[in-house]
Each structure stands twice: as structure tokens, then as C-alpha cells.
């Protein structure tokens, strides 16, 4: 009875409830869970390197720990915006899946030894997922010095010599490009949004489609035909027909009999918007030549698709290996392949890489986690993670001038990380350590462009600055932007069709293998985005919401979690982007989801 009375009394006091609440705080701070420090807050500036937008970042730091990231107001490119991934970027160094160690010396020995044994026809290559950086030039210089060296890039729709001028566009017709959801520089897209009419042609009502001025729910697989029928209307109204892809006119005629799911009046109306709505632009997620050719018909070259100068480099660097697209390399010819996955970019399906490898090839991946090419490589070496790493961010697709901005570290990288540029540089006798400074000096010497400094929000011409001051400004938070060159040659449109994925991709985040655990939790619990192995199907699929199922393609199979979504058309599978899915789908012709 004494015990009973005591228990009853205890429950009627704040003590047990307070202890439970305080104990829950302890459960959130196990050893190893990062805790924000306390102390004097200092503001530092850098640029986000999670994608090529390279948005400017203002960081509140306690000592060497960033505790809050935000955009920089008034920035001429990012306009103060920072996406959800960027805002939580400072969580990444603490990600539980982060690679912590790797056998760097053994990897160097294996690579050097294999290079020495290469015979004729066997190549040594670096695959750079984010070309255009200073590290990229280090790779090119090193591969130029290495016997049989190659510098490889993924196929790119937009190269460094061309850009999209969203600010000049009055009409944008997008075939599946996630313009309002992770494309280009988010702040720049938002800033330009009210100036253009967005027509989104997409089978699924994506986030971009739901926010577009007009959504064309094109029948899956008939996107090319829709573009060709629009082209036919433009040709009828006298549009310029020079430089069209081979066989274009024949395909235009054949497309008239294809059911695109879009009424003829609608097609006519869209053609009317493109021809008389002001400067127009057509984007294609697939890179289809037939879709991109619409830009020729509407006179986009020189108006909304502009030429862009390269960011200056030191003269002595120009003796470097040229850029070679991976797809052009003969199958079975790569004896050594080094993949720089440390700067997230286009994820190339492993099957496209594997076919290029020679038997017993040595593949080394430089990565943050094992989720990407680490699943396939002979060896994975851990690299510094944003915001630990020092790198530069090349200009984004929607930056009309060249840009140079440093992603300067806000915190120290942990011991054991490998710098991929230094690793590759050693192979070719190239000193990578001072490369960023050399490039900055080359920019300063060119006298081109201006520098926007984040602390005071001011711009100054580079030619008025000494190179030391320019370098200091870049390190303290600044962005160099080239002058617009009225004489820049009109860019060539690169018609290279990517194999269509049998699965509609819900978002394109490239190869960002790590996302803040908080973001993942927020997104997955709220179902704002499909999770890592999530697929969305129409309710008529026969599967239950939340069911586990198997996604099968002719490349393999993967267990997935099903979400039912009536905005996904019947017989379409929508999935979140990711390395596993990309490996599974590309270049597969079909996909199905079966109950398990």
C-alpha cells in the first residue's frame, strides 16, 4: 500500500513527466549525433556546391561549425534563394552513410601499376560528372600527360559555350524539364517566372506541370510526335527551316497520324504562342533532336539560347586532353577508370560505363557514400563533403555569362578524405594544390567581368582589382561574372538523344547521393517527394497504397514502395531519381511493377 500510494502520488507531480521529457532530449544526443555548439556567432560566406546552380550562401557559424545556412540577398544570379537541399547542406558531413575511410595508397598502387601495364588500345580515363571546374582542368592536364589518357564527360545537352537566357523568354515550352523544381538556378528561375508563359508537356502532372500556365498531358511515348506536329504548324506559318536534323520533314509528316493525347486546336494554339508570343524557348529533358529543333524554327538561337565565353584559364593549361563524351569511347577499351563523383552531376547508368571497361579493369570512385558508383567500383575513396570541400562551381545552364565562384570550406574536412584532383594530378605530374589560385589569377589578368561581394552586396570591375584582392574576395564570399559578349558566336545546338527511360522520373537531382537526414525524414514522412525506393502508380494498377512491390526492367529488378497517385496516368511508373533507379532503367526499354 505504501508503494501504491507513493506511485499514485508520484504520478500526480510533475516529476515523472519532466524526467521523461528531459530523457527524450538525451535520446536525441547519443554520442556521435552532432550538436550545435554554443558561442559567439560569426557570419561567413561561401557558394553551395551541391549542384551547378552554385547559389550564394550566408552561414552562421559557431567557431568552425556552421549552424545555419541561408541565401545572400541581392545576389545577381541566385537572388537570395537557397533550395531545401542547400539550406540543410551543413548536415551532410554528419550523414550516417558517409564514407569515412578508404585505401588510398593501395588504390594509387593499383592504378599506377595497371597504367604501366596498359597495352595498345587500352586507355586510362577520368570520368568527370561535373565538367568545367578547375579540378576538371587538372584532370585534363593529367590525362594529357598520362600515356593513353582520356578525359571523359557524360553526354551533355548544354555545354559550357551555350546558355539559356530565361530572362529574355516570353514563352517557354518544356517537354518534361523540371523547370520549377530543381532546374538551373532556382532563384533565377523564380525571378524570371512572371515574365514568361510556361507550357509544360509531360505525361505526369509533375510539380512543374501543376504550376505551369498550361499543362499538356501528352500521351506517354508520344512527346516527339507532339513536337513534330507543333513544328508542322510552325513550318506552315513560314518558320525558318534551316539546319533542321536529317529526316526532320519526313518525321513531321509521319507524326500527323500519331495520337499524342493533345487536341489539334491545342497544338495550333501552342504553335501560335511560340511564333507570336515573343522570344520563345523549347526545353527537352530527353534531349530529343526533334524537340530541340523547335528552337531553330522559333529563332531561339541568339535570343533565348545564347553563346557564352569560357571562364579564362592560364595559357599553360590549354595543353590539356580534350573533352571526350563517354558514349564515343570504344567498348571494352578502358583499362583504368577514375570516376569523380564528389561533385554531384549527371548520373550515367552503370551499364553505359560497364560496356566501356576492359576485362579486369580497375575502377576507382571518389565519392561521399557507397550509394552511387561505389556499388560497382573496385575501390571507393572518401572525399570531403560540402561544406567541407574547396572547389569551384562552373556556370549553370541559365547563367548567360561565364561565372567563377568558390565553394570555400565552412568546416574542416575529417581525417582520411582524399582529394580526387590531387590523386589524379599525381598520376600525371600535375600540381593540383595551387590550381584555383592560378585560375583566379588568369581571370584577374583578363580584366573581364565584375565581382559581386556578398558581405556588402557591391559589384566592382575586375580590372580595378589587384589579383591578391580578387583572390581574397573570392575566398571571403564573392562571385565573378563575365561581361556579356555581344560578339559571342551563336551556339550550336547539340542534338544527341538520350535513350528514353521506361520510368517517368519525378525529379532530377543528378547524382547527389547524400541528402540531409532531416530533409529525407521531412520529405518521406510528409510524402512531399517519393522516397529513395518509391514509385507512384495510378490507382488502377491493382496495387495497394503503401504496398511493397518489385520494379522489373530488362536491366534488373529492385524492391520498391508503392504510392497511389491519380495524377500519374495508367500504365506509367513514376519514380524518384537516384543511382539505383538509373542503373535499373537505362537503357531499358520497358518497366513493370509487380506485387510481391
Amino acid at each position: 500500500m505504501l508503494a501504491g500510494g507513493s506511485a499514485m502520488g508520484a504520478l500526480l507531480t510533475p516529476a515523472p513527466w519532466r524526467l521523461i521529457k528531459d530523457a527524450s532530449l538525451l535520446s536525441e544526443t547519443w554520442p556521435g549525433v552532432p550538436r550545435p555548439k554554443t558561442g559567439t556567432v560569426a557570419t561567413r560566406f561561401t557558394n553551395c556546391s551541391l549542384c551547378t546552380a552554385g547559389c550564394a550562401v550566408r552561414a552562421r557559424c559557431i567557431g568552425k561549425q556552421p549552424v545555419q545556412l541561408a541565401g545572400v540577398a541581392g545576389h545577381p544570379l541566385s537572388h537570395g534563394a537557397l533550395c531545401a537541399y542547400g539550406i540543410a547542406g551543413h548536415h551532410l558531413p554528419y550523414h550516417p552513410d558517409r564514407l569515412k575511410s578508404g585505401a588510398a595508397e593501395e588504390a594509387m598502387a593499383a592504378v599506377s601499376g595497371t597504367i604501366a601495364k596498359c597495352v595498345a588500345g587500352e586507355r586510362v580515363a577520368v570520368l568527370d560528372l561535373r565538367p568545367g571546374r578547375t579540378h576538371s582542368w587538372t584532370y585534363r592536364r593529367a590525362m594529357n600527360a598520362v600515356r593513353n589518357g582520356l578525359y571523359l564527360t557524360p553526354e551533355r545537352q548544354w555545354r559550357s559555350d551555350s546558355a539559356v537566357d530565361l530572362g529574355a523568354a516570353k514563352v517557354v515550352l518544356s517537354f518534361g524539364t523540371p523547370l520549377l523544381d530543381s532546374w538551373g538556378t532556382p532563384g533565377n528561375v523564380i525571378a524570371a517566372r512572371e515574365n514568361f508563359r510556361l507550357i509544360q508537356a509531360e505525361a505526369v502532372e509533375s510539380r512543374t506541370a501543376s504550376m505551369a500556365d498550361l499543362w499538356l498531358p501528352v500521351r506517354p511515348g508520344s512527346e516527339n510526335a507532339l513536337a513534330l506536329r507543333i513544328a508542322n504548324r510552325l513550318l506552315d506559318s513560314g518558320a525558318n527551316s534551316k539546319d533542321l536534323p536529317a529526316g526532320f520533314r519526313e518525321r513531321v509528316q509521319m507524326a500527323e497520324s500519331v495520337d499524342t493525347g493533345i487536341a489539334d486546336e491545342q497544338i495550333r494554339a501552342v504553335a501560335g504562342h511560340l511564333s507570336s508570343g515573343g522570344p520563345a524557348l523549347v526545353l527537352a529533358a530527353s534531349g530529343s533532336p526533334d524537340i530541340l529543333a523547335l528552337n531553330l524554327l522559333i529563332g531561339a538561337k541568339g535570343r533565348t539560347i545564347v553563346g557564352r565565353r569560357e571562364t579564362p584559364v592560364p595559357e599553360q593549361w590549354k595543353n590539356a586532353a580534350p573533352e571526350t563524351e563517354l558514349s564515343t569511347v570504344p567498348d571494352g577499351s578502358l583499362r583504368v577508370l577514375l570516376i569523380d563523383e564528389s561533385a554531384p552531376g549527371e548520373y550515367v547508368p552503370w551499364s553505359s560505363i560497364e560496356r566501356k571497361l576492359a576485362p579486369a579493369a580497375v575502377v576507382v570512385a571518389f565519392a561521399w557514400s557507397r550509394d552511387g558508383y561505389g556499388r560497382h567500383a573496385s575501390c571507393v575513396l572518401p572525399t570531403a563533403v560540402y561544406p567541407e570541400s574547396l572547389d569551384d562551381v562552373p556556370a549553370a545552364v541559365d547563367s548567360v555569362t561565364a561565372a567563377f565562384r568558390l565553394s570555400t570550406p565552412l568546416m574542416e574536412a575529417r581525417a582520411g578524405v582524399v582529394n580526387p584532383a590531387e590523386f589524379v594530378g599525381k598520376l600525371g605530374g600535375v600540381d593540383a594544390a595551387g590550381a584555383l589560385r592560378e585560375r583566379a589569377d588568369a581571370i584577374a589578368k583578363s580584366g573581364r567581368g565584375s565581382v559581386f561581394t556578398y558581405a556588402d552586396g557591391k559589384s566592382a570591375p575586375v580590372k580595378q582589382m589587384k589579383s591578391d584582392d580578387f583572390w581574397k574576395a573570392l575566398n571571403e564570399g564573392a562571385c565573378w561574372m563575365d561581361d556579356r559578349d555581344a560578339k559571342a558566336p551563336l551556339p550550336a545546338l547539340h542534338f544527341r538523344e538520350r535513350a528514353a527511360s521506361p520510368v517517368a522520373i519525378a525529379e532530377e537531382r543528378g547524382a547527389a547521393a547524400l541528402v540531409s537526414p532531416l530533409m529525407s525524414k521531412v520529405y518521406e514522412e510528409s510524402r512531399l517527394r517519393l522516397g529513395k525506393r518509391g514509385v507512384a502508380l495510378h490507382p488502377s494498377s491493382g496495387l495497394a497504397d503503401g504496398a511493397r512491390a518489385m520494379l522489373e526492367t530488362d536491366c534488373g529488378r529492385m524492391e520498391v514502395n508503392v504510392t497511389l497517385d491519380s495524377s500519374v496516368p495508367p500504365n506509367v511508373v513514376q519514380a524518384a531519381a537516384g543511382s539505383e533507379l538509373s542503373d535499373l532503367c537505362g537503357p531499358s526499354a520497358w518497366a513493370k511493377v509487380v506485387r510481391i
Binding site: M1, G4, G5, S6, M8, T13, A15, P36, L69, V522
Partner: protein, 186 residues
């Protein structure tokens, strides 16, 4: 039977007393403020308002507890005859030493609380979160939870309580606002 009831009631009484009287004393580590500062004297006699010492800078950030400069701007020399003021001048103003104030409203570093939005845009009164702080004649003892590490922030219905996330969420919901985690936790 009667003995059982007596034991029951005795046990209950002991734990009630322990839980309501002893526990709060045990769970909180107490410390005094460095100066026996009287808000009452400054507001009533000196005619100051909250904003005179706790103000916004030009960039919109909040000064919080004022630095020594603010105090010394009036108290470079004694303005009264109290021993407290004399001690303050001798210990802090003259040697130019910042008092180590303990902030009742201290929040973890992963919390972003902008005074500007709450005061200027939402037009909240200081008392809504800080209670009767501005009318006290002596600062209340600073109490910090030994386990959780949070200070006892404000006084509500005569009881000092810590101002935690649930209090913020409750107020936001009452105002019809919905936010995501990252709006307040950066």
C-alpha cells in the same frame, strides 16, 4: 485495512511533497545573476521602456541583453546612492568588464528565433514570452535544467516554466500559421 489506507495516504503525501517541492529544487541548478538589476527602477523611476535597452540594430538583428556600453552610457558615474549601483560601477564599469548575464530566454543554437518578425510584423508584446520580467525589482534566480540543459524561461501563472518548442508551435497554430521544421531549425 486501516493501516493499509494510512500507508497509502502517507506514501502519496511523501511523494507529492517530494514531487512538488523537492523535485523542482533538485532538477534545476541555480545561480544568481551577476548584478542585482532592478527593471522596476529603470522603468518607473528612470522612465525607460523595454526598447531603450533591448532594441533592434539597423540590420534588423536584436541586441538582446545590452552590453556594458549601454549601461555605462548612463552609469559612468553613480546616478543614485544604492550599494548595488556602486558595486556595479566598481566591478564592471570602471574595469570595463562585461557582466556575465544569464539569459532566461536562451534557446539551443539550432533554433532560429527572429525578434524582428515577432515584434515588428506580428506585433507581439514582450510579456507574451518574457512574462513580467520588465517589472521585477530583483532578477529571479537563474535556473538551468540539469538534464535537458534548458533554462526556466518565463513565469506563467506565478510559476517559472521553460519556454519550449511546444509553446511556440501552440502560439503559431493559434495564429493560423503552419511551418516546416526548417523554418525554425536551421
Amino acid at each position: 485495512m486501516i493501516r493499509g489506507r494510512v500507508l497509502f495516504v502517507a506514501g502519496m503525501a511523501v511523494t507529492l511533497a517530494a514531487g512538488w517541492a523537492a523535485f523542482p529544487r533538485a532538477i534545476y541548478r541555480r545561480s544568481a545573476q551577476p548584478v542585482n538589476f532592478s527593471h522596476k527602477v529603470h522603468t518607473e523611476k528612470a522612465g525607460q521602456s523595454c526598447e531603450d535597452c533591448h532594441s533592434f540594430r539597423e540590420d534588423g538583428s536584436f541586441t538582446g541583453i545590452p552590453s556594458l556600453d549601454k549601461c555605462a552610457s548612463c552609469h559612468a558615474a553613480p546616478m543614485g546612492t544604492t550599494a548595488v549601483e556602486k558595486e556595479f560601477i566598481d566591478k564592471y564599469v570602471t574595469p570595463q568588464r562585461e557582466p556575465e548575464w544569464r539569459s532566461y530566454a536562451e534557446q539551443p543554437e539550432n533554433v532560429w528565433f527572429p525578434h524582428a518578425i515577432h515584434v515588428k510584423r506580428a506585433r507581439m508584446k514582450c510579456e507574451a514570452c518574457h512574462g513580467n520580467q520588465g517589472t521585477t525589482d530583483t532578477p529571479r534566480v537563474f535556473e538551468r535544467d540539469r538534464i535537458g540543459g534548458y533554462p526556466r524561461t518565463t513565469v506563467h501563472a506565478g510559476m517559472p516554466i521553460p519556454l519550449g518548442m511546444n509553446d511556440c508551435v501552440e502560439c503559431h497554430r493559434a495564429q493560423g500559421l503552419n511551418h516546416s521544421c526548417l523554418d525554425c531549425h536551421k
